[in-house]
Symmetry: C2
Subunit: 158 residues, 2 copies
């Protein structure tokens, strides 16, 4: 039986599900690239959403992935975000939820010795009906915080 | 088609698979508890293993979960570990691999505002054939680094 959503998560209930679509990435140090993406937000009845993300090239080769959790302590408008990147980066962010919008700003980025230097990540995410759009800004490898990723995904399950 | 394992990951190839079994947790601030656990290490052909873990009570109720990645840059004996906890904790660790043993020591623990205070985590993991055993030590909520978790899991797939 599907557990009931923890009441803390009511403000972000609209994130639940699996979302698939396409995005584009750009940064001064790399060539612009297109990608396919699937993300999911799931829950087990406890006060967190589990987040999983995978991107692939338009030809289907795996590119990025990331996993983590979203918390919304007390069910208010403050959100916590804890994400691990396979590139060796750990991202912790604080954010706010406002209707169907989520704004996350990194409060700590820690990298392993082999990770690229990333110093800040900002994510803005909006859901309108069955469409999820996000933009991600990043400060990395000595470059100032700037646009890096944008994608439009559609809900691919209930 | 299953992609080939990235050569960096040869030293930790023995982690690949899904492992299930039972563990016991103890800490001065809580009652000792038993748990069921399933962990998996998977790969997509890139230079990281994806790690997923879930525990439940002996009655099957979800307890802890954690997700992240393991890197072994250059395929040597140095390992990097990036894990997100749904309790709001981000764990980054450095480690060494020696045959079928892995020793991980946290280098950074960052918590969100609602997370419990955890200051250090040490993990020792050994695989012998189809049996995986681990022990986890933790310094948290003002207590010194000490034994917290031990489990014995068996490979439940290929």
């Amino acid at each position: 039986m599907e557990p009931a959503l923890h009441p803390d998560l009511e403000p972000v209930r609209w994130l639940l599900g699996t979302w698939s679509g396409e995005g584009r990435g750009e940064y001064p140090t790399i060539e612009t690239f297109d990608y396919l993406e699937t993300i999911s937000f799931t829950h087990v009845g406890k006060p967190f959403l589990a987040y999983q993300q995978r991107t692939s090239s338009p030809e289907g080769l795996p590119m990025h992935a990331e996993v983590g959790y979203l918390r919304c302590p007390g069910g208010g408008d403050q959100v916590e975000w804890i994400v691990a990147h396979p590139t060796g980066i750990s991202e912790v962010a604080a954010g706010t939820v406002d209707g169907g919008s989520l704004a996350l700003r990194s409060t700590s980025i820690v990298g392993t010795p082999s990770a690229k230097d990333v110093s800040a990540v900002e994510r803005d995410l909006v859901v309108d009906g069955d469409v999820l759009r996000y933009e991600l800004r990043m400060a990395a490898v000595g470059e100032a915080l700037q646009h890096h990723l944008a994608a439009t995904l559609r809900r691919s399950d209930g």
